[in-house]
Structure formats: structure tokens, C-alpha cells
Symmetry: none
Subunit: 216 residues, 2 copies
Amino acid sequence: MPTRVLIADDQAMVRAGFRLILEGEPDIEVVGEAADGDQAVRLARELRPDVTLMDIRMPGVDGLRATELLAGAGVPDPLHVVMVTTFGLDENVHAALRAGACGFLLKDAGPNLLIEAVHAAAHGEALVSPAITTRLLAHFTRGGSAHATEPANPLTPRELDVVKAVARGETNDEICRSLVVSLPTVKTHIGAVKRKLSARNRTEIAIWAWESGLIR
Amino acid sequence: MPTRVLIADDQAMVRAGFRLILEGEPDIEVVGEAADGDQAVRLARELRPDVTLMDIRMPGVDGLRATELLAGAGVPDPLHVVMVTTFGLDENVHAALRAGACGFLLKDAGPNLLIEAVHAAAHGEALVSPAITTRLLAHFTRGGSAHATEPANPLTPRELDVVKAVARGETNDEICRSLVVSLPTVKTHIGAVKRKLSARNRTEIAIWAWESGLIR
DNA sequence: CGCCGTCTCGTACCCAGGTACGAACTCTCG
DNA sequence: CGAGAGTTCGTACCTGGGTACGAGACGGCG
């Protein structure tokens, strides 16, 4: 009996590409496609796929949230979600694994890795892109301290304001004027954001904002 | 006699997806794949494809530059290049058409549109994604005015290396190690880049890299 | 050949950015 | 009401980023 796969990605051509890649395998069957997180959750409940390929970045409910929803009250059997994304920022990886994903692939990983990941996920095993694996290991060996305490992505509204300003290239001085607060306040917020995103400087905050679609 | 197609995209999985989509058509034959602009130019000269699918964003020589090179001294017969990209930034469209492309597709356009575009390009006709067509028309009707883009950015190769590193969030210290130069050198290059891009800090350099598609 | 651009490195200085505390105020919620 | 989260501000300190010089080495080109 073949592995039944659900594909969730907002780009129709990416879905078609995945489908064609996977249907080249005899023991894999694509049972559905979803264009956003909402659809993904509904179809996953309805179709009960063995594995769900989930793009992180989708309009409306994104892949992370959708995975959390599924993990929460959706399906009784263990989740087999493989995250697929174009970018491998650390925060995304952590959030994805916390949300219950059992794989994390970059889209430039090659078709074979995709197939391998589906097979691995079907057996409840995890497969992560080599490039990301390297960074994960670096995190562990460096003693990734702050992660255990921090929940997923709860940036407060004010912190989001600061992130957007940073992602526009504003200096701390400009931010404190445009948000009408004092300079220490801006620094406090930025410090909090850096901890939550495990960013090492403001440039990585800006990169995160662009990658996550907060700015475009 | 089938239409011979060359695929140029840095992501292996995207190439595989395109190939599978196109090979489903009886009158289309994929004759080669290129992972960057250099390869694309060389293969196009060697294989003489009827149509080249070209991703705009590729490491090293990007799709725009590669198209220009081909238009310049490459092939005598008219160019049949279809640009493919995930984003439909206006300046990209203009630059692509200026460079000699005869089509412009968004990756979320659907497989059928891809096939249609290849067929159209084979006959020298142009096919542009509906969404982009709308924006182009808007430009014309509005009287295509304000173009605040810098057409030529005289960034030297080395400066481009530095820009990419900055856009990855690296610190000066990390850059000087990854490029194997001294710290003053890195600072010199960054200073030059800042002047050329009229950026006020490294974050604005990173933003520029993202906006211009140098990084994704 | 001399000129020019690029890449490289150095020294020195200044300041924005980042860290590490502490603390007050407001609001919500059990 | 007490607890917690969010926002705000303060002080002090240190590092990294940015600026302003100058200068040698290399290669292409008129």
C-alpha cells in the first residue's frame, strides 16, 4: 500500500512540480493539494494523508500555524509533516520542529531528497536538509541557551513595529522618533526581538522580516 | 519536429519540476539544464535550443545578464527566452524585456501557462503572466513615468561578494574570514558599496540586496 | 611606458548599536 | 486583589560598525 501524500503550497507550479516528482515513484500517491493553511488543515483531516508536504510561507494561515493546528486537535495518529521552504533561517527550523514537523527541506535540495524525505516521514523518521543540519549542530555545540525558554513566535505588537522599522533600514535614533518613544525603549525592544528570533544583529532581524513576508 | 528547450534555474528541484511538466508534452523536448547564468550561456550556444526558460535570480551571472550576453554576440537567430521568477517586480519585467526576453512568467502561474509560454516563444510570440500583464497595462495607461531605479550599478565583483555576505547577516569579522581578507579590507569595500548604493548602514545594503533579487 | 581601476592593508578615531542591570506604569485576567 | 505581560524609561559599559585618511601591488589599456 502506497504512501499517501498531501501537498500544501500556495504556488500552483510548485505543487505541480512536487506532484510530478512524487508520482514518478511507484509507492507514493498524491491524494490532494492545498493552496493555503486553512485548506491544508481541512484536507488533512478529511483525507488523512500519511505525509503532508507543507510550505512555511502561505497567505493567511501559514505552514507553521497549520501544523500547530493539526498537532493540536486535528488528527489522532502522529503527525508526519515535512516543511518545505526556500530559506533556512534558524527560527523557522526551530518553530517548525516545535510545531510538530518531522522534516525540513530547502527547495534547492534536489528531487531525490524530497522523495527520501517523504519515505522517511512515512516511517515517522526525520530528514532535514544537510545545510540546515549543519546549522542545527552548530547551535547545539555552541550551547543554544535561550531556546528552551522561548515559545514560538510571540512578537508583541510593539516589537513588530520595531522589526518593521529595522527592516526599512532605520537607525535606532530614527525609530525612537518615528515611534515616539525614547532610545532606551527602542533598544529594549530590539534586544527582546533578537532573543526571540535568535538573531545576532539588526541585519538578521531585517532579513527575517523580508523572509517571513513582513516586508516586501 | 519538437520544440527543444533549455532550462536554467539554480534550484535543482525547480529544474526537475519544469522538466517533468514539459516532458508530458509530446512536441516538447528538454535538451539541457543549467544551474547558473554562465552555464546557461554556454549551453545555449552549444545546444541551440528553440526556447530557453531562464530564472532571473541565479548565483553569479543572473538571468538578465545571461539574456543580454546571448542577445549580444551569442546566437544569430532571434532569442526565445522566457523569464521565470517567483516575484513580479516591475523593474524586473522591464529589464527582462529590455534584455530581449519574449516572455515573463510567475512561478505560481500553473503548469499549463508554462507549456503555453514555451509554445508561444517557439513561434517568437510573447506570453506574459496575466497578473503582470495587468500591471504593465497600468503602467502604460498611467503613462509609465517614475522610474527611480538605478539602471547600472557599477558594483565590482568583490563588492558583490561583500554585499551578499552582508545580506546573509554576517558581521564584518565573519566576512573577513569567509572572504579570506583583512578587516580593514572588508570595511573599505562596505564603505564603497554604501557610497554607490547611497545606503546609510549595512542593513540598507541587505535590504537593497533583497529588493534587487541578489538574495532570496 | 604611464594611467587608471581594483583589491589589498594599515592606523586612528568616533559613535551607533548591543548588553546588563533595575524600575515604574498600565492593563488583563483568574 | 494579586500575578503576569507589555510598554516605557533610566544608567552604565563595551563592542562592532562606520569614517577618514594613506599606501603598495596588480593588471588592462591607450
